[in-house]
Amino acid sequence: MNEPTNEYGLAKKITRHLDYGVANLDNRLQHRLQTARQRALKAYAEPRHSFSLAGAGYGHGSRHSHSPFRAWVPLALLVLGLMFVTYWQNTQEMNDVSEIDAHLLAQDLPVHAFIDNGFDTWLEGSSQE
């Protein structure tokens, strides 16, 4: 299962030399690697300061990453908004109709007078006079 001991020992000797090389890496390269690391870590830090409704409690790996669920939030909000507007418009319409009904019923004239053609003719003739 394992490699022969001498082979493993030899490989470890070689990698110790590599470790030495890495420990004495050029200062300029060390600085560039540090900058690269800081840039990469910004990707972790940024989502924590932003609006993160969708990420809350969603899963282990999705806290700071761009969760696919996050993309659905604006769409869901839009659909909810449209549903609210439609509901509000229907309610308003019903209120308007019931207001007209109430107004008609509260008049002195009976409701049939408004659909009677003779009443319309009499009304026009009397207004011309």
Partner: protein, 202 residues
């Protein structure tokens, strides 16, 4: 060990600990990752780009994973990023070859021995002879690794330098455990033989 258990919970303070762990992990691994990329692509800027891309991918996609999974995930990402770089280079070199056929001058060939003989000014340790001897051995080993077939080098570095076990190395490389052992054995013997040919006993 405790840090792995407390990471399961979510709270403000624990998130900060995870960030610190990730930062610490990247700081530990970045230099070796750079060398791995450099052995593979032989270009300083390319190697730095590869390391930055790999660190970014780990941070973006896997920062919520347990810390113990970081080495394996990072190595997978690093190897894939190196392969992507190769692919892009292949396409680029195809265009370069096509275009250079119209130009009169030939491009200079890369000679690794030139870099071998360049003195390293960054070493400012008190015993210069010892430092020089050691850095020469390091350069020879790095040269030997650069000249290995890509899969052998990859297996050797993952298994012995990154200290992944055989199954993790196989998973990171996308091959069988048997192949990992074969690649490792060939790589080790090739590097040792190269050093011997230069009169160095590793």
């Amino acid at each position: 060990m405790i840090r792995y258990h407390v990471k399961e919970c979510y709270s403000g303070t624990l998130q900060l600990a995870t960030f610190q762990e990730l930062s610490k992990f990247l700081a530990e691994v970045e230099r070796r990752a750079y060398k791995q990329a450099l052995f593979a692509v032989r270009d300083e800027h390319g190697a730095l780009d590869i390391v930055q891309d790999s660190m970014l991918k780990l941070t973006e996609k896997y920062s919520g994973k347990p810390t113990e999974e970081f080495p394996m995930l990072f190595q997978r990402i690093l190897q894939n990023t190196i392969r992507d770089y190769y692919r892009r280079q292949k396409v680029r070199s195809l265009w370069t070859t096509l275009l250079s056929s119209f130009s009169p001058h030939q491009e200079e060939e890369y000679d690794p021995l030139e870099t071998l003989e360049v003195a390293d000014d960054s070493n400012k340790i008190h015993r210069p002879e010892e430092t020089l001897a050691r850095s020469q051995v390091v350069k020879l080993i790095e040269l030997a690794l650069k000249n290995l077939p890509a899969r052998q080098r990859e297996a050797f570095l993952l298994r012995y330098w990154e200290e992944l076990d055989v199954s993790q190395t196989a998973a990171a490389m996308g091959c069988s455990e048997g192949s990992v052992k074969t690649h490792c054995s060939r790589a080790t013997h090739a590097v040792a033989a190269f050093l011997k040919s230069k009169g160095i006993e590793p």
